[in-house]
């Protein structure tokens, strides 16, 4: 956009009003526009400029009130629950170690303490996922109890990662657990129902969703998974790519192994494809899927991408 020069437009009105606008903001009018007092004669006689002077205050008042209003309490809670990257001060263990070292208590006590710390660290690594609570951005007709998400038919829940990963779940009813939701790994387990999902992450954050005897490996994508009471499932991929890997019972065609040894076979399901997955984890050949006419997915053809981004 080029710099607006009031002198090029409609003469004294534009010059006066631009100076008036700057003066209203408490700015010393500089450069190529005059101070409004220099044009007072014009300002007093021109109805348009008088009206402009009035509009400045009219526009300012509502915005002034808005900026002084406190933010909604739910938003405030969300912001205050953002995980911090650094721990506040030394840990209890660090403090104890320091005290022991400074007080000169002999080596066996320190060795014992180190052993306890190592066991503790191993346990905390096992439960690493549970230590990073997901940041719930939106929740509409969806309930989060511990790590269990219950989504209603018209519900929606959106989560975000500090590393700019975004997960949106909708189109229930469904029950899922968020086993891990961190910048290192996202792991969900689908208990029942049907869910649509959109996952986008900057960089490569592994995303896995387990259900029945199968596991989905998801690369930034939009898809829907429907679990049937029989244990069978249908996966419809609107965009991106989902790799289906059977876990548990090993089924599928033997690949490069002696007869009699069954090997799990992963299948990549690309955008605009759907597959059926049996309760045992067997995956049917991909069929065509049209998400454009699907009211739940509702993606315009121009916004579809297929495969890896």
């Amino acid at each position: 956009m080029s710099t607006l020069n009031p002198h090029e437009h409609d003469g004294p009105c534009a010059t006066f009003q631009m100076a008036l606008s700057a003066a209203f903001d408490g700015e010393k009018t500089a450069g190529d526009f005059a101070h409004p007092s220099a044009l007072d004669g014009h300002g007093n006689s021109c109805d348009d400029c008088k009206a402009f002077r009035q509009i400045l205050e009219c526009l300012h008042q509502p915005l002034l009130k808005s900026r002084d209003m406190p933010i909604p309490s739910t938003l405030r809670d969300r912001l205050n629950s953002i995980p911090l990257t650094r721990k506040p001060g030394p840990t209890l263990l660090e403090q104890m170690m320091k005290t022991l070292t400074e007080s000169g208590i002999f080596q066996p006590a320190i060795a014992m303490l180190l052993l306890v710390a190592l066991v503790g660290a191993a346990l905390s690594l096992r439960n690493f996922g549970n230590q990073t609570p997901p940041i719930l951005k939106h929740s509409q007709k969806a309930a989060m109890n511990a790590n269990l998400l219950t989504l209603q038919a018209t519900g929606e829940a959106a989560f975000s990662l500090p590393s700019s990963g975004n997960l949106r779940l909708w189109g229930g009813p469904a029950e899922l657990t968020l086993d891990e939701f961190s910048s290192n790994n996202v792991a969900l387990t689908m208990k029942s129902g049907r869910v649509c999902c959109n996952w986008e992450a900057r960089g490569s954050v592994p995303f896995r969703l387990a259900f029945g005897a199968s596991q989905l490996e998801i690369v930034g994508t939009t898809w829907r998974l429907s679990l049937e009471p029989t244990g069978n499932a249908q996966l419809e991929v609107a965009e991106g790519k989902v790799r289906v890997s059977p876990v548990g019972k090993l089924v599928g065609k033997p690949v490069g192994k002696p007869v009699g040894t069954l090997v799990a076979k992963s299948i990549d399901v690309s955008g605009l494809q759907k597959v059926r997955i049996s309760a045992a984890g067997e995956v049917s050949p991909p069929e065509a899927f049209n998400p454009f006419v699907d009211p739940q997915l509702g993606i315009p053809p121009s916004q579809i991408w297929i495969g890896e981004r």
Partner: protein, 181 residues
């Protein structure tokens, strides 16, 4: 300006606490910068839900980069506002696929000299702002909601002070037309 300086001092104290990992620092920063940034993003994006998302992303970035911020050098407030502006712009860019055209005023143009005969509500201003191009409404809202000076806006947006003055004037001119139609 005094209020603005007070906010800057409070933001500097809060960022120092945040750098030491104190959740209290985050709470102070949310309380001192949150309302203005929320007001700015709400008017910029025309949606409270989008503004909430953008503000959350802003604070996530602030928490992630707090350790890199030297509160003794430069303005904490300006740094935070720049992050908020960038997240707001990011959401606007996502929306660009809608390729919405700038709607022209629906009715016949009013007499330019006609003054408003009623006080405006925030909804009126926000509705009118939807029709103002983002390159004009950005400096206008940075001035009105974030209370930045033209020089600060120029610095944050890589423009000259005169260009900022011209864009704010142009935004007001357009708003004046739209609030009356």
């Amino acid at each position: 300006m005094e209020t603005s300086d007070k906010i800057e001092r409070e933001a500097q104290d809060a960022i120092r606490q945040l750098q030491s990992g104190s959740p209290h620092g985050l709470r102070r920063l949310v309380d001192c910068l949150g309302p203005r940034m929320f007001s700015f993003l709400k008017s910029l994006l025309g949606s409270a839900a989008d503004a909430e998302d953008a503000l959350q992303e802003t604070f996530i970035t602030i928490c992630g980069k707090a350790s890199q911020q030297n509160s003794e050098i430069g303005s904490v407030k300006g740094w935070a506002y720049k992050i908020a502006r960038n997240h707001g712009l990011q959401i606007l860019r996502h929306r660009q696929s809608d390729s919405r055209k700038i709607p022209a005023p629906q009715s016949s143009p009013p007499n330019p000299a006609q003054a408003l005969d009623r006080a405006l509500l925030l909804e009126d201003v926000d509705h009118a702002l939807e029709s103002v191009p983002v390159e004009l409404k950005m400096p206008f809202l940075m001035r009105e909601c974030l209370e930045l000076t033209y020089e600060q806006i120029a610095e944050l947006t890589d423009k000259s002070v005169n260009q900022v003055a011209a864009e704010i004037y142009r935004a007001r001119q357009l708003l004046r037309e739209y609030v009356r139609t």
